[in-house]
């Protein structure tokens, strides 16, 4: 028994001694002075937020409200110099409720110097506004031009795959993107009769087997990257639900975009011009209108819409006063025309002006005035004026 105890003690202590030596050895090697090595895997949380005060006067009906507190966190995961995942969540307060959206979530891989593949839900390169200019800290005005966003005629994002890339032509540059997504759904009016014939670009599970194809070509003709002209198209042969009478309704959309940004010493600052024209052509179909007395009436219309915006801004970056340098003057015109004969027929013209103060390159205070004249549309038309004070920040 004694022998056994001694033996156990030897084994026990021996174990501790070994253990300690081992541990010391480990710690030594860890604490050895080594320069900081950045890891290959990188993770960033970014995003943007904005808040503000809106005053609206729609045909004499006045409203005012503190708005926004929108928060859009963006997650970037970089796994290597070629592989990356990006996702954006959008939190907003609308209609007295918290709304959450998944703006995009896609994986991208650089195949070679001219080709990158993306898959998932991504912002569509249909023109430039939605993909490049809509975040509140980038958009020079607190509102979107007509034709984008809710009830817009231009698609914002899609679920699918995309191939994109750029070529340096020794000064001029060319960039391209081609993609295939689930494509839009046609609103047949069974749920919202006033929207019969509109496209709903949200199509998380495709309602038919026809995919949408689209692409954009952008050309920067000058070596200083000041100017870009882009042409985009987007089409699908079917937007209706499989086996419905609308199955074979096809769609063809195109957009033309333009951008010019340059610091011009003669006027002591940056001139920034942006514009986009969207055109939508949906095959004609017959929709049903149910009157109040229960009678049904069939109707059809030429389902073509278009929208346009042009924006001009000036920043006196070369002014002598520090305050002036941070100012920006912005003006934008936009219009929207939806099909004659549709329940959502509308002709709208909008002018928006803003005086912006840039606290930093990613934080801006916008004081803006906007006036919209419309015939038809959701609110029945008329003149709507708005005054906005917004503060946006990117991080």
């Amino acid at each position: 028994m004694k022998k056994l105890t001694i033996l156990l003690m030897i084994v026990g202590f021996g174990h501790i001694t070994y253990g300690q030596t081992y541990n010391n050895f480990e710690t030594d090697s860890v604490t050895a002075p080594e320069p900081f090595k950045p890891s290959k895997t990188q993770f960033m949380i970014r995003g943007y937020g904005h808040t503000g005060l809106n005053f609206m006067n729609t045909e004499g009906e006045k409203e005012s409200s503190y708005v926004g507190s929108a928060f859009a966190p963006i997650f970037l995961f970089k796994h290597s110099d070629r592989l990356m995942f990006e996702a954006e969540l959008e939190f907003g307060l609308e209609n007295n409720e918290l709304e959450v959206g998944l703006e995009y979530a896609d994986v991208m891989y650089i195949l070679n110097k001219n080709m990158t593949v993306r898959a998932g839900k991504f912002l569509l390169p249909f023109g430039t506004f939605m993909e490049r200019l809509h975040p509140a800290w980038i958009n020079r005005l607190p509102t979107r031009p007509l034709g984008f966003g809710h009830d817009g005629i231009a698609p914002a994002s899609g679920i699918g795959v995309e191939l994109r890339g750029a070529f340096d032509l020794g000064g001029p540059k060319l960039n391209y993107a081609v993609y295939s997504t689930n494509g839009p759904r046609l609103k047949d009016g069974s749920v919202e009769p006033e929207e019969a014939g509109m496209l709903m670009f949200q199509n998380f599970e495709d309602n038919n087997n026809s995919k949408a194809f689209g692409g954009r070509i952008g050309l920067l003709p000058f070596a200083d990257s000041s100017t870009e002209i882009g042409f985009s198209s987007y089409s699908t042969s079917k937007v209706g639900t499989t086996d419905s009478e609308y199955e074979n309704v096809g769609v063809f959309l195109y957009a033309i975009d333009f951008a010019f940004i340059k610091q011009i010493p003669a006027i002591s600052g940056f001139i920034d011009i942006k514009g986009q024209y969207n055109n939508s052509d949906i095959d004609d179909a017959t929709y049903t209108e149910v009157h109040e007395d229960g009678d049904e009436e069939e109707y059809t219309f030429d389902n073509k819409s278009n929208s346009f915006y042009a924006q001009l801004s000036y920043r006196p970056t070369m002014a002598s006063s520090d305050f002036m340098k941070k100012l920006e003057l912005v003006g934008r015109y936009s219009n929207l025309n939806t099909p004659e004969g549709a329940e959502w027929e509308e002709r709208s013209d909008q002018y928006a002006f803003s005086l912006n103060y840039w606290l930093t390159w990613r934080s801006v205070i916008k004081v803006a005035y906007q006036t919209t004249d419309s015939v038809g549309g959701h609110d029945g038309g008329g003149t709507a004026n708005g005054f906005f004070i917004h503060w946006a920040i990117g991080f």
Binding site: P38, Q42, M44, L76, K78, D81, M84, E86, M108, I110, L111, N112, K113, N114, M115, T116, R118, P125, T128, E131, R132, L133, W137, I138, L163, R164, G165, A166, D168, G170, K173, N175, Y176, A177, V178, S180, F213, G215, G218, A223, D224, S225, S226, S233, S235, T236, S237, G250, V251, F252, A259, I261, F270, D281, D283, W358, T360, W361, R362, G394
Partner: protein, 101 residues
């Protein structure tokens, strides 16, 4: 409408395969040779100048001091894809941003 869609699909397919062939067949050697020639005959733009031009196109150009080197590599990859920038362009700008922060 059907025909427009078909033409578009065919165009996309041709473009993609064409791009694949061009992108994958240009060997590394040929590429280096081409840029060597460019280097000889052209005064190259500096990364700083390219930053001032390219990074102002959509938003105001970010200040190099606002991020560290690790973050700049992530942002450079993000912007390369989002803004569809040419490889040599973004490589130069990234080097500049990392040297000036």
């Amino acid at each position: 409408m059907k025909t427009i869609h078909k033409i578009l699909v065919v165009a996309v397919v041709i473009f993609t395969t064409g791009g694949m062939i061009v992108g994958c067949s240009s060997t590394k050697n040929a590429y280096t040779a081409a840029t060597d020639v460019q280097d000889e005959f052209k005064i190259e733009k500096s990364g700083a100048q390219m930053w001032g031009e390219a990074c102002n196109r959509c938003h105001l150009a970010p200040s190099p001091a606002d991020y560290n080197d690790t973050d700049w590599s992530t942002i450079a990859l993000h912007m390369r894809v989002r803004a569809n920038l040419a490889e040599n362009e973004i490589a130069k700008i990234e080097t500049f941003l990392k040297s000036a922060n």
